[in-house]
């Protein structure tokens, strides 16, 4: 495993090294990260980055297949417009994680900030997924046009597992939340839908991975406790205009 020391490197210097090394290294460990931005941006499959310290904003922006493991917390904008790949964060992440994300998976051990999963969209085979172990802030899944968000709410009461205005402007995708969440927490474009066989299969698969990554006992999570939320329609503002 290649080891890089990010100490005193600017984000540009550091990313130049990563971009150069990634095509020939299967695994790169980067230590002493101190908020450098855009780590792993546009990286393709074939390389896993192990990050020690704090990666800065826009971690994995436009990422295209690489894997990233963050040993601690991440900041804002994780997976911004990410296309493909996987990110595992052994801590919490900040606001707008998964903005306009189109593919790949992000696992967060604990909480995430505001506007997570905003504008997430899916296309064909590409279905982006966010698996959040703790709670999410306001506006989770805002304008969501596709993909999957799973909130486990570990350590929180169901009421606290999401903020307000969840799914405002949502017109695609689905959100799974563990436990009964009061209706006022959701935007008016969202409705609850019945869980089906396929939903349980998906949840089981993703939660299994979560438990493996973060060493959490699977038996503590009962799939029967999940509720599914979907958009009322794919055209939330279709009747807004006078033609």
């Amino acid at each position: 495993m290649k080891v890089l020391d990010a100490h005193k490197l600017s984000y540009r210097e550091l990313n130049d090294i990563i971009k150069e090394e990634a095509p020939r290294e299967k695994e790169i460990k980067i230590k002493n990260l101190r908020g450098q931005r855009y780590i792993g941006g546009t990286l393709k499959e074939g390389c896993t980055l192990y990050l020690d310290g704090i990666p800065g904003n826009d971690l994995a922006s436009f990422m295209n297949g690489a894997h990233i493991v963050v040993s601690g917390n991440a900041q804002d904008g994780v997976g911004n417009t990410m296309n493909k790949g996987e990110i595992v964060i052994h801590g919490h992440a900040g606001d707008i994680m998964g903005y306009a994300m189109r593919g790949g998976e992000i696992y967060v051990k604990t909480d995430v900030g505001y506007r997570v999963g905003i504008h997430m969209k899916e296309f064909g085979e590409q279905i982006p997924m966010l698996i959040i172990g703790g709670s999410a802030g306001n506006f989770l899944g805002e304008y969501m046009a596709g993909g999957v968000i799973i909130v486990l709410g570990i350590g929180d009461s169901p009421e606290e597992s999401i903020g307000n205005f969840c799914g405002t402007g949502m017109h695609g995708g689905r959100i799974y939340i563990r436990g009964e969440v009061p209706a006022f927490k959701f935007g008016k474009e969202v409705k609850e839908a019945a869980m089906e066989e396929e939903d349980y299969r998906l949840l089981k698969d993703k939660i299994k991975k979560y438990c493996k990554y973060f060493d959490y006992p699977m038996k503590k999570i009962n799939l029967e406790d999940f509720h599914k939320y979907v958009p009322i329609g794919s055209r939330p503002y279709g009747n807004l205009y006078a033609y």
Binding site: R37, F62, G169, H171, S234, Y243
Partner: protein, 501 residues
């Protein structure tokens, strides 16, 4: 609501002596105006549907058709004009937000027409561009503070990435979705042939247009449609869209019915869903956040492309432009209040923003005062109608202009302003296959190339008349401008003298 209280806007006059009931008008009209009555064996018109697009008139083989403004007038009233009454009635019928297509048509002053150009007489003689070289080449991007030249004469300063234009004009951002693929193709091919650039708008880049990537500015807006690492790396430049002159502070909704297979694939979204781009980028709440996105894009494109930030011309445009320059943008695009659109809420389009003429001078002044004018190029957009407008824009301080409406007019648009209906009879602002076919890309390209070729000659003539032989020498050269019918305050803001001074 079935019953409308409104009389038709247009009257279809069919000359019975000329009409041969050939039904060309019936097949050509996408608005369902003309119809053939089998019993009467005659063509009739549902005038209430007519939008005055001229399609039937132009294609009628016997010149039997004339479309007129409906001669029925409301009782005279200076406060309540016809348009006010009609719009109000429409909202009473539908309860919706009024939509409009293309730029603001209101009778607000067009300041281009109040600015006049200079020419040389006797002293500093004019130059004849037919005999002497005349340079229109324009580079867009960050210019260095100073140049360092080595002993051997080689350039030691590293120059930031630039867009190289054969003339200071580009085709504005118009997405595949708002316009047809054929129309996008016309823009791309014409840009390549002319040595300039077109802009994808927020519609992604269709596979078939990848080969024109060297002449493409790829846009990134709040919905991030069609944006991935390939898209960012393939374009010649990248533009962050913050705002648009026709709808400052408002986002875009491409209605689901326009999101057909090709549009969905290019935007990378499911078929038939609304493509929603809200006004704010939700990762940008400050100049510092804008800087973060600018550098995310630079990182993604290996610092090889200039990054533009497009904003609408609004009250504090100068301060905003300064912030954008300091955020690290290489180009600032400013879209004036007359800028075009496929669809905008009418009240926003007609009432928000400021004229581009003032915005150019305000921004140019501010950047010069702060000593950062060299850090960015300024591209002006919104209501550039002809070559003289371009010359005036450059003299006011712009590096280049974007044209949108003018480019569509060259393709055959007749400015009926119903783009938002998605039924464009000229095959431009539509996704319906039988309508899209009406725009022949080869002919469209030729017409657009003709237009810009003509404009290039005209710009050279105007420059020559001023005794200037390079467009660079005109940039910000407001001595070449004089104002008529302007207040002294307006002259001050434009930074020009009154005619006769």
């Amino acid at each position: 609501m079935g019953f409308s209280m409104l009389a038709p806007e247009y009257r279809v006059d069919r000359d019975k002596d000329r009409c041969i009931d050939c039904k060309v008008c019936v097949t050509q009209c996408p608005y369902d105006v003309h119809y053939f009555d089998e019993e009467e064996e005659k063509v009739f018109a549902r005038e209430e549907n007519c939008v005055n697009c001229h399609r039937c008139v132009v294609l009628c083989p016997t010149r039997a058709l004339i479309i007129r403004k409906y001669p029925l007038e409301f009782r005279e009233n200076s406060a309540w004009k016809d348009i006010d009454i009609r719009q109000l009635q429409k909202q009473a019928e539908t309860g919706g937000i009024l939509l409009s297509g293309m730029g603001n048509p209101k009778p607000l002053p067009v300041f281009w027409d109040k600015i006049l150009l200079n020419a040389s007489q006797v002293t500093n003689p004019s130059i004849d561009p037919l005999r002497e070289p005349m340079e229109l080449k324009t580079f867009l991007g960050r210019k260095p503070e100073r140049l360092e030249i080595g002993c051997d004469g080689s350039l030691k300063t590293k120059i930031s990435p630039q867009l190289e234009l054969s003339a200071p004009v580009m085709f504005s951002a118009m997405s595949f979705g708002s316009i047809s693929l054929n129309a996008c193709r016309v823009l791309a091919e014409a840009a390549e042939q002319l040595g300039i650039y077109y802009n994808t708008g927020e519609g992604g880049l269709h596979q078939s247009l990848f080969k024109f990537a060297d002449h493409t500015v790829v846009q990134v807006a709040s919905g991030r449609f069609g944006v991935n690492s390939e898209y960012l790396k393939i374009g010649a430049g990248i533009e962050i869209k913050i705002g648009q002159g026709a709808k400052p502070g408002i986002g875009g909704h491409l209605p689901g019915e326009k999101v057909r297979e090709e549009v969905a694939a290019t935007r990378m979204i499911p078929l038939g869903t609304d493509a929603i781009s809200p006004a704010p980028h939700h990762d940008i709440y400050s100049i510092e956040d804008l800087r973060q996105l600018i550098f995310a894009l630079k990182e993604a494109s290996d610092y090889e492309k200039p990054v533009s930030v497009k904003i609408a011309a609004v009250h504090n445009v100068a301060a905003i432009a300064s912030g954008i320059a300091r955020a690290g943008a290489d180009i600032i695009t400013i879209d004036g209040f007359r800028g075009g659109t496929g669809a905008a809420p009418t009240r926003i389009r007609d009432n928000v923003g400021i004229p581009i003429e003032f915005a150019i001078s305000a921004v140019d002044n501010r950047l010069k005062e702060e000593g950062i004018r060299n850090q960015v190029s300024v591209v002006a957009a919104g209501s550039i109608r002809n070559s003289a407008d371009i010359v005036k824009a450059v003299a006011l301080g712009a590096d280049a202009v974007y044209i949108g409406t003018a480019a569509l007019l060259a393709m055959g648009c007749h400015l009926c302003r119903k783009c938002y209906m998605g039924k464009c009879s000229w095959g431009i602002a539509t996704q319906q296959p039988h309508l899209v076919k009406r725009l022949n890309p080869e002919i469209g390209r030729e017409r657009l190339v003709n237009l810009i070729t003509g404009w290039k000659h005209e710009i050279k003539e105007i420059l020559g008349g001023m005794g200037i032989n390079a467009i660079d020498s005109l940039r910000g050269n407001r001595h070449m401008l004089r104002g008529v019918d302007l207040s002294s305050r307006e002259l001050d803001i434009l930074g020009i003298k009154a005619a006769g001074e």
